[in-house]
């Protein structure tokens, strides 16, 4: 077993332990379980980071990338952003869902080949790496925004219907969910913007035949525009809350299409 493989397995194990402790805490309210969950989570994140080092190094050295690396970089970004949010508002429920997602991704894709299969022209690898990193952070922020948005929609509905149960009281306050969804939307739009810009710069300098007519590039730009519109609507306070949450569902659908589906149509951008 390779070095980063071992660390990645350790990551999955620790995340699972954290998730189980959170679930136990939600069920029994034993404070000690919460403490264990936080410890397992932090340690797991450390393992996660270590398991990424080689891949990120390769990425910035020789533009090497594969689907597996993309997915663990994505899940790392997701955990990182959630941790950043959680330092401000207590959101165990959000972290729990993030962990389920990360574990599912890790479990499903663990068997993916690790070799770096696509040789991408390696000059200006730095800009390429920046492009990948920022884009993935952006997508992770959108995923986080989606999770907060879905929880928001659930709680909103409960409040409108006036039906309460014990699960209801364990959710974060409505306004915090909305704020977190909005902040990650905002951050995601910024990060994906940087990712797109650095990607275009890199393609230009690399002299690649990558143009706006490439399906993946245009899909990414459309995705970005959708989020920009959502931000505009929210900033001007035309809409807020429920409608914005629904819009961000549409936005995330665009993310999924850009991220997975468009690779089959794109010639110049078909890595991983």
């Amino acid at each position: 077993m390779t070095f980063d493989n071992a660390f990645f397995l350790g990551t999955l194990f620790l995340y699972f332990a954290a998730l189980a402790s959170y679930a136990g805490f939600l069920f029994s309210n034993r404070v000690v379980l919460n403490r264990w969950a936080v410890r397992a989570l932090m340690l797991g994140f450390g393992f996660h980071t270590v398991s990424l080092i080689r891949q990120v190094f390769e990425l910035f050295q020789s533009s090497a990338m594969n689907l597996f690396a993309v997915l663990i970089l994505f899940s790392w970004s997701l955990v990182l952003l959630t941790l950043l949010i959680q330092s401000r508002v207590r959101m165990r429920m959000v972290m729990g869902i993030v962990l389920v997602l990360v574990l599912a991704l890790g479990g499903i894709f663990f068997g993916l080949p690790r070799y770096f299969d696509k040789a991408i022209p390696s000059f200006n690898a730095f800009w390429f790496g920046t492009h990948v990193l920022f884009s993935l952070l952006g997508y992770a922020a959108f995923a986080l925004s989606l999770i907060c948005g879905l929880l928001y929609l659930f709680l909103e509905r409960q409040l409108k219907l006036k039906s309460t149960n014990s699960f209801f009281y364990r959710l974060p306050p409505l306004e915090s969910l909305e704020l977190m969804a909005f902040r990650s939307l905002w951050g995601g739009t910024l990060l994906l913007g940087l990712g797109l810009a650095s990607g275009l710069l890199w393609a230009r300098w690399a002299g690649l035949p990558l143009s706006f007519r490439d399906p993946k590039v245009s899909a990414a730009i459309i995705t970005w525009l959708i989020y920009a519109v959502i931000l505009y609507v929210r900033f001007t306070a035309r809409w807020r809350g429920r409608k914005v949450a629904y819009l961000s569902l549409v936005g995330f659908l665009a993310v999924l299409i850009t991220f997975f589906v468009m690779n089959y149509f794109s010639k110049g951008h078909g890595f991983f």
Partner: protein, 347 residues
């Protein structure tokens, strides 16, 4: 496991066994409790003692290795308070060993209280214990027992939701406000009309640290009086549309025979307040706020029946939690008694 004899005993009466006129005659002031703790031990009626005297209960926890302690202590109480024994004997209960341990654990955790799950009683038990220990009335057994009861009470607070889940209308309103806004310290209340329940709700919200309150009433003087009470500001009834932009929680309880707030008005408010969420609580009967308002985005309207429904729901949840709490206390009693066996076998 046979019956473990710890000699821990409790004699007393509470809100369930005695009327208030009996409880008040047997209640101890702090000075009386101090005197009584000394007397009990001087007279050789107990080796260790703690007196817990609150408005709902009078209890004497003690350690004594004689079996007739019930007779001697009930007589002692009668003499101390100069109340004839037949007047209160029927109200007395007496527990020993694991029953006494269980009783204290339940009392400290609020399971034996009039409002099950209340937390104040823990503070009262602590005070009673510290008074006794500061006068040297406690020893190894009661020290361990009372410290343990604080731990059990804390565990119950942490591990059951017996203490959360509001079951009164005004506290449900506070709970809803917290579900929507989280922290309330940047929020402002608008109170329209007056009334006991609405003022109680404002009071609770003020206790939770809301930033400000605005009172409005058909009679401006009344509004001013309310504003003064809660250190807020008063506006005339027709001015509420001007302040609506800055309020987050509206509590309405006027005596108006028809709706005083309609959907189009509140819709206008929402544009003004840039769609920030608004909690509206309509306590009035007949209702003050058009129920259609609840259809507006980011507006959450609850009338008195809605609040009662939430309270009932919470009450059901609380009953479920009660079972959990009971079994938790049971396991703690067992743990304590097991420790007593070890303690006895060493000493």
């Amino acid at each position: 496991m046979g019956k473990v004899e710890t000699n821990i005993q409790v004699i007393g009466l509470n809100h369930r066994t005695a009327q208030v006129q009996t409880r008040e005659r047997l209640a101890f002031t702090k000075a009386q409790a101090t005197a009584c703790l000394a007397r009990v031990r001087e007279m050789g009626l107990a080796d260790e003692a703690v007196i817990l005297s609150t408005c709902n209960r009078v209890e004497l926890y003690h350690v004594w290795d004689r079996s007739d302690s019930y007779e001697s202590l009930s007589q002692f109480l009668s003499q101390f308070h100069q109340v004839s024994l037949p007047d209160f004997e029927k109200s007395l209960y007496f527990y020993r060993d694991d029953e006494a341990v269980r009783h204290l654990f339940r009392v400290a955790s609020g399971l034996d209280s009039m409002v099950v799950g209340e937390k104040e009683v823990l503070g009262q038990v602590k005070k009673a214990y510290f008074l006794a220990s500061s006068t040297g009335a406690t020893g190894p057994l009661l020290n361990v027992l009372f410290q343990r009861s604080f731990y059990v009470a804390k565990r119950l607070q942490n591990e059951t939701t017996l203490h959360s889940g509001s079951i009164s209308v005004s506290s449900v309103a506070v709970q809803l406000a917290q579900m929507i806004f989280g922290e309330l310290n940047t929020k402002t209340i608008l109170l329209v009309g007056a009334g006991k329940m609405s003022e109680q709700t404002v009071q609770r919200l003020v206790e939770r640290g809301v930033k400000g309150m605005i009172a409005s009433n058909r009679s401006y003087e009344k509004a001013q009086a309310l504003a003064q009470k809660f250190e807020g500001q008063a506006v005339r009834l027709d001015e509420i549309h001007q302040v609506a932009r800055d309020v987050d929680i509206v509590i309405s309880s006027t005596a108006a025979p028809h709706f005083i707030l309609h959907q189009n008005e509140v819709s206008g408010w929402m544009k003004e307040r840039r769609q920030r969420p608004l909690l509206m609580i309509d306590i009035a009967v007949p209702r003050d706020i058009d129920p259609e308002v609840n259809r507006l985005d980011n507006v959450y309207l609850y009338n008195i029946d809605d609040l009662k429904a939430v309270a009932d729901q919470n009450f059901k949840e609380r009953l479920k939690e009660q079972e959990k709490a009971d079994s938790l206390v049971e396991s703690e009693v067992k743990r304590f008694m097991d420790r007593m066996i070890k303690y006895k076998s060493v000493h």
